[in-house]
Symmetry: D2
Subunit: 444 residues, 4 copies
Amino acid sequence: MKPLAIVGATVIDGTGRPPIPDAVLVVEGDRIKSVAPATETVMPDQANVIDAHGQYVIPGLMDANVHLYAGITPDLLLEFEGRYADLVVEAAQVALRAGLTTVFDTWGPLEPLTAVRDRINRGEIIGSRMFVAGQIIGFGGPLSYDFFSTSGTFGLDTVQRINRQWEQGVGSDLLWLTPEDVRLRVRDYIERSGIDFVKYAGCAHTNPLITFSAPAQQAIVEEAHRAGLTVQAHTMSVESLRMEIDAGADLLQHGDVTGPEPIPDATLKLIVTRRLPVAALVCTTRYMAWVRENGHELMRTIIHNETQEQNDRRLIEAGARLLLTTDGSTFGPRKLNHPQLASLWKGAVDFPLQLGRSHFLWLEAVIERGMAPMDALLSATLNIAEAYDVAAELGTLEPGKLADLVILDADPLEDVHNYRRIDAVMKEGVLVDREALPANRILS
Amino acid sequence: MKPLAIVGATVIDGTGRPPIPDAVLVVEGDRIKSVAPATETVMPDQANVIDAHGQYVIPGLMDANVHLYAGITPDLLLEFEGRYADLVVEAAQVALRAGLTTVFDTWGPLEPLTAVRDRINRGEIIGSRMFVAGQIIGFGGPLSYDFFSTSGTFGLDTVQRINRQWEQGVGSDLLWLTPEDVRLRVRDYIERSGIDFVKYAGCAHTNPLITFSAPAQQAIVEEAHRAGLTVQAHTMSVESLRMEIDAGADLLQHGDVTGPEPIPDATLKLIVTRRLPVAALVCTTRYMAWVRENGHELMRTIIHNETQEQNDRRLIEAGARLLLTTDGSTFGPRKLNHPQLASLWKGAVDFPLQLGRSHFLWLEAVIERGMAPMDALLSATLNIAEAYDVAAELGTLEPGKLADLVILDADPLEDVHNYRRIDAVMKEGVLVDREALPANRILS
Amino acid sequence: MKPLAIVGATVIDGTGRPPIPDAVLVVEGDRIKSVAPATETVMPDQANVIDAHGQYVIPGLMDANVHLYAGITPDLLLEFEGRYADLVVEAAQVALRAGLTTVFDTWGPLEPLTAVRDRINRGEIIGSRMFVAGQIIGFGGPLSYDFFSTSGTFGLDTVQRINRQWEQGVGSDLLWLTPEDVRLRVRDYIERSGIDFVKYAGCAHTNPLITFSAPAQQAIVEEAHRAGLTVQAHTMSVESLRMEIDAGADLLQHGDVTGPEPIPDATLKLIVTRRLPVAALVCTTRYMAWVRENGHELMRTIIHNETQEQNDRRLIEAGARLLLTTDGSTFGPRKLNHPQLASLWKGAVDFPLQLGRSHFLWLEAVIERGMAPMDALLSATLNIAEAYDVAAELGTLEPGKLADLVILDADPLEDVHNYRRIDAVMKEGVLVDREALPANRILS
Amino acid sequence: MKPLAIVGATVIDGTGRPPIPDAVLVVEGDRIKSVAPATETVMPDQANVIDAHGQYVIPGLMDANVHLYAGITPDLLLEFEGRYADLVVEAAQVALRAGLTTVFDTWGPLEPLTAVRDRINRGEIIGSRMFVAGQIIGFGGPLSYDFFSTSGTFGLDTVQRINRQWEQGVGSDLLWLTPEDVRLRVRDYIERSGIDFVKYAGCAHTNPLITFSAPAQQAIVEEAHRAGLTVQAHTMSVESLRMEIDAGADLLQHGDVTGPEPIPDATLKLIVTRRLPVAALVCTTRYMAWVRENGHELMRTIIHNETQEQNDRRLIEAGARLLLTTDGSTFGPRKLNHPQLASLWKGAVDFPLQLGRSHFLWLEAVIERGMAPMDALLSATLNIAEAYDVAAELGTLEPGKLADLVILDADPLEDVHNYRRIDAVMKEGVLVDREALPANRILS
């Protein structure tokens, strides 16, 4: 394969250094060969050339928290049983089409997720690069009280058969155990699951009850680190957040969500001084206003409330290391209109959970909250790569790294809305045929 | 194909005439050629011979009310979607194996039922001969308040998609219409559905609220008769029963179930003088005792209560024309243990709804209630054939009729439990390989 | 007591005759002595005089369907147990204050309602004159599936104790019975209850299932007439409406509500030719628009739908005898915000169920639908008195009738909003101290 | 008042020392003056004498965990609102009648409980001496998800009004707070509530989710001790139990209930070496067998399971300091038959939650598990007094202590069933008129 040169564009390489106007970025195979001003570049022989004058090249975008398997309502769980991978593929393609070359899937059915991840990595399917957590250790599956209780609509065997595909032996029964037994179960899960990083429940799904005691959390963190994996927790309260930090988590997943109580100063200070990455669910002002007026009680009082908004401002102001994180998944009429879920999102303005759009909204939202444009870009690229310990390969446009990049028609540092003006997406040196994605629309 | 002669057995031909000892029953092709004492029979040349000395031959048994599609819980409805026919086939085989050569399916998903019916009729599948009603006109589908309300577990589209496969345009919305509009909708359903008989809701599924007004019921009956079909209603109360009779129904489906109020004398008299066939859900004394002690409130107070027992006795004493009817369907652990249904049947003694066993229990129960042994046999054969207007082909062992018969090892008129001692089942002249049935066990 | 003369006003006497300008209306005791132009009146000696020049005197208004007991949520039912009468008194005062001198209570707890009625009639309490139906024969009580199912929150004894105060032996168990047994139970209820008129369920509360068969309805109607009482049915569908008419009902309660199916022409013709009073729940255009946009499914599709609006127009155009009817009751924050009921009414514009306001909205709504102003007044006065067979005493301003009247500051025939401009209310010759009503605010 | 001498009985003084045969126990006022063998006693002048030859005198019994307010179903909560104290009085009398001179109420409505306690202490009402915890800090009230969720049957204001009477400002919203804020709220509660000891939620009511983090638990314990009160936690799992011990709790409430996971050896060792009082819900073998066969899932798998039985045996064997604890409350048909609760207790053999009987069952059960007879008596007397820090006044029959005692007709150390053979109960020197208790039966 011949080398490929993108010439003429302003390259914002994601290192935080100033943009390089009239740059030449050379790709060889799946990696970046060089990035430099045209004046300093020797063009390779026989290179293919992409003329990008007037355009802007940025690293491929990342999302620190998505759920590619989106069919979590009981009817979809049953209808798509055996075909969950189809929905995952769809979502991975929706993501890639929208400029997300890498996503971190933080909860879902292990087998379909890892299978699709591997098929994408082997080049059998086109889609966003996936890193997968599988189960959130300590939660029940999708048909449990943690997510969607079905009030006896189904027989126990159906409920368990579905839930097991998520729980993988590290479900809510772990909460009964001693830290030592938790450790053994987690170790076993890590060894056989093929996951890329570890996520555990620091508290219940939508309330502040604590799942694992401090020693149990430590055991989980130690097992993750022992296996060379990063670890993060689901937290919803100031104490579960503090316990997660104490336990040694590498990344604070939606660390900006603390219910009605703002992040205490001491915790904020820890976050900043230790440079702990905070995957923050920052939402636009328009959405926050909609929630205040029309939102479901859960969203309005616990999650997307004034405390979260205030936490986001304080984190940005204090210079915390934020990560673009959306909780995004595919949506379609069936999920939007589901009788027990519709009140969570029907009619929302700037709805922040829709994969493919939500990362643009996140970038717009952090600018609204006062983040510097360059920091916003780093939040969506290098910060995430570092937090997930994959910065050796990903996150910036530097020689030797994988050639994941997005070509924009306008400057995203000048106007954050320009992230939407995607002209082309390249993943591992190959230009993505965005029009063809997703090949098979199911839920999107 | 060579003729076949069953020789030596006592033949109870189902006409009500005395048994023929040492008889010869000759089958040619799919029909009965002759039935007569050995002394009066000229054996055909080159006939295959079945030696049945000491055995008893009776017509193939029938059940006036079964539900071959049994997967009516929400999880089964979703899991087996697209494969409902598989469950129907299983049930049709369970029935045939147990001596039921013909069953009348009075509620279920139209398309799978008629498809399996047709495949069995064409000889592509082995199974009990099916006559199909499809929808009970006026009811909602299985995921409606008439059957299993799912409290918003599913989206509306899922609920409707499932229900439509039952409702077929003649669901509960008909209750809003004028009799004239009901007539048009029913006519259209009959014309395009390919059903064998008509069943409508005379009242709600488990309470005495009336569905159709008297003129609307008359319109339905007229449309059925206009198409040459028999018609029956689901009734649960003395008034809905009376209205059904007034409307001109041909068969009173579970006419012995009238809630807490016994059948009034005037109605009983009508039933007897008009010779109206009553498909009665007679249960054994042991089961009735179990229900009184342990039964679910619905069963205990509305259906299998003392009133029903009393109705059954009075009907038998008055010489009403009873039909064996069981409401039977296949059962397995998943349905038995379903959290919202288990209390209806878990632990029941002589449980009367299990296809393959329930017709034996019915025969035993009517004997307990005082029916003469020969009348019990007619209730399971000729009475049903006449009530459903198929007696020209079925219901007795007479020359010219289809060769459906059961060979028993002992005399069923002497001891009703002998119906269980099946040695062989023949359908349309072919001996059934009972061991091979059902080929595919799903729910049974 | 001295006679009292209202002088100078324009009297619209409610007979349908033209208004009498500069009239003198003389009251003696609790009755009207004379009504005539000033020029034709001889003033009594020593009369008290109310100067009403420039004002308009109309008969006391009536509502053909209210529910003075309003605390129908489970918490209120339990909290106010033993004190239901207090809520009834409050409502009767709210009604009187708003110009309703007579109301017909069509469903509620028998004992408190009749007790308050009697105390008002004896002059011990001030309030609107009440006529009481008590139970709707055939329905369960407020804590039954007909109204508010509590999903096992309460023990059976609590549920039954509350329900019995409504059901009075003529609850939903009647639906199991023969017409003859229904007749006996209804007769007994009428004899011992002290009710003023009879209401029975013609169909279920909010769906088209029929409660009583035609002969059972006839039995109820005959028993009511035998006792000299008028009779009406709750109906929701074209067939239940037709059956009610066939049974001989005197008044069609919300006869304009027929679900998705408009009143058939034949039924409309019957209504008009027989002069059957139709208590129609006519709502304002503004409310109907709100329901279309925001209404609860029940309201939007079954009750306050386009069919009802069309029925109302057709009834008015055809000259049917309409009655002001509102289903009105007292409301307050607790009922408005109740989690299971709020979606029925929260945020409604021109909300038609609030006693004290709803009758003004009704009058405005019929004018919007094309009714002549004088007919609107008759709908709220004489038509109701005649329909309930109390026109000998009530409904017009004619000599010999009870002196129930309202003095308005502006002409209600010129602008229907002028009904709201009440200056004074007189009941049985006594001016009501409106400011003092209701004395004890609980729910209003 | 003259002194009173009980003469001739065998006195088991509750100190653990051997019984004193033919003893004389002298009471002066409300206190014990002396206890000694007859031979060593100088009888006071003019004493009243109780001849107790052949009888056995033991200290008044105690229960370390009761709930005197028993009307926790929604209907009772609403019906008895404003009269909760009546139910508390009834229960305090049921307890006293059965020999419990002192009970520790560990959860209930603060105001009625403290009011009844004070009235009993002032001698205005006769009843068991009460020590009161009021709220379990961190739980919601009885109409919350922690206890009885009512699915929107009630308006929010009703739910909150009831719950506030329990929550007292230290409800489940505390779980959102930092330890420092928890501390302030708890301090405030202790200061204004008048409680006798502190109980907090160490985990959720019936699952292992942890409520308070370790520092928050420590803050609660410190605040209790700062106010001079003992403190205990509700725990259900091995980790919540360990955390409670680490936090410094004085008494482990139902420390033998650890779900499916037995108490770890390390924890058991801590309990024994630190002499931590364990209030264990020991049940009879007959009851445990019934639960295994028929019990509700919650009881069968989480609470009264084999793990608990094993924990009890190990605790006894290891010599842990057990306290008689029953969770007892009054029961009657309404609570027994409540549709959502009946499956917890209907039909139970040796049902362990019924106040007045359950303490006898407890004593029988510990003997079955291998406890020495004298230790069983101490578990019901001195151990509890010491654990709750009231042994200066209560728990033994020693000079100077309050004269609370029970006279039995047979030796309880010989046969544990003899605790049921109560002849007389004395509280503070006064013989209780047991026949008159409870004066007012509501639920019992």
